[in-house]
């Protein structure tokens, strides 16, 4: 459904665009309907940039992003973009900054209505809104007609998902949607993603938290410095990390029932077998992947 | 660092080209004919003589060639330091006239800017010390910056010059003197300089004080101040840091304000008939010497650009942040 192939993103930074920064390097991946793909990586690894490119919020430097047969990066014109957003929507990291603080929170629904459903009657619209609010398990009385600061982060985040559901979307880009939430509420939002998956949505789930990525996703992509370090079915990636970086990352994640010392000891006890990583020439911007086992790829090792 | 300077220079170069181009365009595309105005004053009645002289002066002022040639000739002249000939003081070169006036303007501007900046900053930092001080000094500062330069000049002229008779009311130095390197002459120069200087100083002071007060309050709110307080550092240290850091934006503020300050100097000079560029502007306006006016404009622009560049360099030297960014420090 969504296919990124050899996508690069180069930012020009500094005044006069003097320096260049390669935020995304030769990324290829796919998202199928009903599949949750986690993009995992440390800060600055290019996760959000990929999300933004998929959402058409920023341009692609090279490569292509194809959604249902159409090249997203070549969508030109306002109405074509608008049609694309009927199908693809996003939810962002900070629920508080996703709402314009001077307007009521449900204005996000009204915006969808005025853009996409100008003909729908008030009653129909109300019903539609109540439906989606139900879908995200919110009580309409609690959330409608309120200002964003009167709602909790979890509520806001769920409202945003509801907003996306008003449209007949096929793909949802969820960029760190839970990292700002409290532990007690984030799990609800994650569960909601699970529900959406059941409905056949493809979800691109961006996170820096390995345990969260692990919890919902079918496929995990570990990014490092803009390039894919490792990609494969979630369970494989976590149980058998092949890339040294993935291993390092996993060893540093604080786990609830195992201390770092235990993890280190375990690793030392049965060291993982090394795989041959693909290599590239100096100055080559590509980042090839090697398929180590079925559907499980490792990428280049960048120092 | 050098790259940064190079880029800055590039920007100033571009600005200069734009300024020169605008300046070149104005007399050629706006109504009014400088040559005619010059001949008007010569009161020539014989029509043939008039025509011959028109041709002659058009040639002198380089208005007889195609526009693009005029443009390049203008640039060529500029690089030779030749800004043309004054209409009013024909046939004196504009450059000579301006150069005679520049020292007065600089002599007024530089001390006024530097002193008001230094004193104003300390004043502002002092005001930010407490609520009472803040509430009494601040309005004074605001009223001072809101004072039109010429009005302040008028008040001082009236009170200390005309009424009080403590200071001379016009000119750059006494009319009985010829310039010389002597104490009496220098003292005389200073008495003439003092009131214009004072008026610019006072007006400038308010602005810097307010700027500093705002910046320092902001700095005192900054995380590092908070942290130092949490570690029990004395107020003195925290203030010192805040003052220093607040000073830095004030340097850039200087660059931004330069245009205004120069405008203020021009107006002040006019009030005191101080023989700097401001008075010269007024004279060239009154005598419709647009070539001279253009020349002054270019001079001021060049001056502003140079000053900006100097400020940029100073800023780079004092603020480690810019320095680090330019050398590409890791982060």
């Amino acid at each position: 459904m969504l296919e990124l192939s050899h996508v690069h993103k180069v930012y020009r930074v500094g005044a006069f665009g003097g320096a260049r920064l390669r935020a995304v390097r030769d990324v290829s991946l796919t998202v199928e309907p009903g599949e949750v793909v986690s993009l995992i990586g440390e800060s600055g690894s290019g996760k959000s940039t990929i999300g933004k490119m998929v959402l058409g919020l920023t341009g692609v430097s090279s490569g292509s992003i194809v959604f249902e047969g159409k090249d997203v990066s070549r969508i030109r014109g306002f109405s074509a973009k608008k049609e694309y957003y009927r199908r693809v929507q996003g939810v962002f990291q900070d629920p508080f900054s996703s709402f314009n603080p001077i307007f009521k929170a449900d204005r996000v629904f009204a915006m969808i209505r005025s853009s996409y459903f100008p003909g729908v009657s008030d009653a129909d619209w109300k019903q539609k809104v109540l439906d989606v609010i139900g879908t995200v398990r919110l009580d309409p009385d609690n959330v409608l007609n309120k200002y964003p600061h009167q709602l909790s982060g979890g509520q806001l985040q769920r409202l945003l998902i509801a907003r996306a559901l008003l449209l007949d979307i096929r793909l949802l880009v969820a960029d760190e949607i839970i990292s700002m939430l409290d532990a007690s509420t984030r799990i609800d939002v994650l569960n909601l993603l699970g529900d959406l998956k059941e409905r056949g949505l493809g979800i691109l789930f961006v996170t820096h938290d390995l345990s969260l990525g692990n919890y919902v996703s079918d496929k995990s992509v570990i990014l490092r410095k803009g390039a894919i370090a490792e990609m494969g079915p979630t369970r494989r990636v976590f149980e058998n990390p092949l890339h040294p970086y993935s291993r390092h990352l996993l060893s540093c994640v604080p786990q609830l029932h195992r201390t770092w010392a235990e993890v280190d000891a375990e690793l030392a006890a049965n060291p993982p077998e090394d795989v041959a990583l693909p290599t590239v020439e100096e100055g080559d911007d590509s980042a090839p992947l090697t398929e180590a086992e079925e559907g499980h790829f490792v990428g280049i090792d960048q120092r | 660092m050098w790259r940064y300077m190079g880029r800055k220079l590039g920007f100033y170069g571009l600005t200069f080209v734009i300024a020169v181009t605008i300046n070149w365009m104005i007399p050629r595309f706006m109504p009014g004919d400088p040559v005619r105005s010059m001949l008007n004053r010569a009161s020539i009645s014989d029509p043939e003589a008039l025509e011959r002289m028109t041709t002659y002066y058009n040639e002198v002022f380089g208005l007889d060639t195609p526009l693009h040639q005029q443009y390049f000739a203008f640039w060529a002249g500029l690089f030779r330091g030749d800004l043309g000939v004054s209409v009013w003081l024909y046939p004196e070169p504009v450059t000579d006239i301006i150069l005679r006036h520049v020292p007065y303007t600089l002599g007024l501007l530089i001390p006024a800017i530097v002193l008001s900046w230094i004193v104003g900053n300390h004043f502002g930092a002092f005001a930010a010390r407490g609520k009472v001080l803040d509430n009494t000094l601040l309005p004074v500062g605001y009223v001072l910056t809101a004072t039109p330069y010429m009005w302040m000049a008028l008040l001082l002229l009236w009170a200390l010059g005309v009424m009080g008779g403590f200071f001379p009311t016009a000119g750059g130095y006494g009319f009985a003197l010829t310039p010389s390197w002597s104490w009496p002459f220098f003292l005389n120069l200073v008495t003439h300089w003092f009131l214009p200087f004072l008026s610019m100083f006072i007006v400038g002071l308010g602005g810097w004080a307010i700027g500093m007060r705002n910046m320092i309050i902001y700095e005192l709110e900054a995380d590092y101040s908070n942290y130092l307080q949490a570690l029990g550092a004395p107020r003195r240290l925290i203030r010192r840091y805040a003052f220093r850091n607040a000073m830095l934006p004030q340097i850039t503020g200087l660059a931004v304000q330069l245009g205004t300050i120069i405008a203020g100097a021009l107006l002040t000079e006019i009030v005191f008939t101080y023989p700097g560029l401001g008075t010269l502007i007024l004279r060239s306006l009154n005598n419709n010497d647009l070539f001279l006016l253009q020349g002054i404009f270019l001079f001021v622009v060049i001056g502003v650009l140079i000053a900006n560049f100097i400020i940029d360099i100073i800023y780079v030297l004092v603020d480690p942040r810019t320095r680090v960014q330019m050398t590409g420090g890791s982060s």
Binding site: I102 | P139, W151, V256, V301
Partner: protein, 303 residues
């Protein structure tokens, strides 16, 4: 004369403007009513405005008519005395105040429109557009406005209030553009802006409905500063004889007082009021601005 160093509002372009929800409005009012700077500042400005608006209605003769004895000090009949030709200075004063407000509003308004437009477009669009506009802004910023104005205006044969205001407006916008740009730049990265794009909103609507309202207090403050700056520049131009031909303004009053030797003849009532009015007007605008800043900027609020 376009701005004062570290002017209120220019202090800290990085501080996010405060949201103004229902609660915020009442809170803002609470602080507004308690802020002496705001109250005094706006009181004086409004008072002067009122004087400029209705004052001229109560003076029977035009401002330049010789109606009374010459060179009279203030008296009950001529509140501000008369000029050396027997013009009523009070009449000139109120008319001058009016045109000062007109120049300020017009010149400041034009600068505001140009400045905010440039700032918003640069800040929102980013990239090359930003770079070009930024360059333009810096170029205009570096050129000393009054000197540019003198040269430009000197070529005009007949000058009017509107032309003067236009020229002032066209030269004094850059710092506002700069300030608005940096604000817009930070606001444009807010998630709700992206969300609005995902909702199929056009650029200008995003700027006007999502970004601008969130910096409304900032915009108001910029306008006030531009207004004050325009008044000062206009007074400077008037003073050197480049004012509107055949009009009345506070700057022209100063000019004619000086030209007709009011200083030498001790006619203080001729040159004190116009200068004092300008100072008072601009000064109280600045103070009003600090007040506004203290009201809108939570960091500066005092309980």
């Amino acid at each position: 004369m376009s701005n004062i160093p570290g002017a209120p509002g220019a202090v800290d372009p990085a501080t996010a403007p405060e949201p103004v929800g229902e609660r915020k409005v009442s809170e803002t009012l609470h602080f507004a009513r308690r802020n002496p700077k705001l109250l005094i500042g706006s009181g004086i400005v409004l008072g002067l405005l009122l004087l400029g608006l209705i004052g001229p209605l109560f003076v029977t003769e035009g401002p330049n008519v010789y109606i009374g004895p010459q060179s009279q000090p203030p008296s009950s009949e001529y509140w501000m005395g008369t000029t050396s030709f027997g013009q009523d200075i009070w009449a000139q004063f109120v008319h001058g105040l009016r045109s000062t407000f007109i120049t300020g509003a017009l010149g400041g308004g034009i600068a505001f429109v140009v400045g905010t437009t440039v700032g918003f477009v640069a800040g929102y669009k980013g990239g090359l557009v930003d770079e070009i506009l930024n360059m333009l802004t810096n170029v205009v910023l570096v050129l000393p406005a009054l000197v540019v104005l003198i040269v430009a205006v000197a070529y005009l044969d007949v000058r009017g209030l509107v032309v003067q205001a236009l020229f002032i407006g066209l030269t004094s916008w850059p710092w506002a553009a700069r300030a608005v740009r940096s604000q817009a730049l930070s606001l444009a990265t807010r998630d709700y802006v992206d969300l609005a794009r995902l909702s199929g909103r056009r650029t200008w609507r995003i700027i006007t409905t999502e970004i601008a309202p969130n910096m409304s207090s900032y915009l108001v403050m910029s306008f006030i500063l531009l207004f004050g700056g325009a008044v000062l520049i206009a007074a400077g131009l008037d003073f050197i004889g480049l004012g509107p031909t055949g009009g009345v303004s506070l700057g022209l009053m100063l000019e004619s007082a000086v030209q007709w030797s009011a200083l030498q003849l001790g006619m203080w009532w001729w040159f004190i009021p116009p200068g004092a009015a300008i100072t008072l007007l601009v000064g109280s605008m600045y103070i009003l601005n600090v007040g506004l800043d203290e009201v809108f900027n939570p960091k500066l609020r005092e309980l």
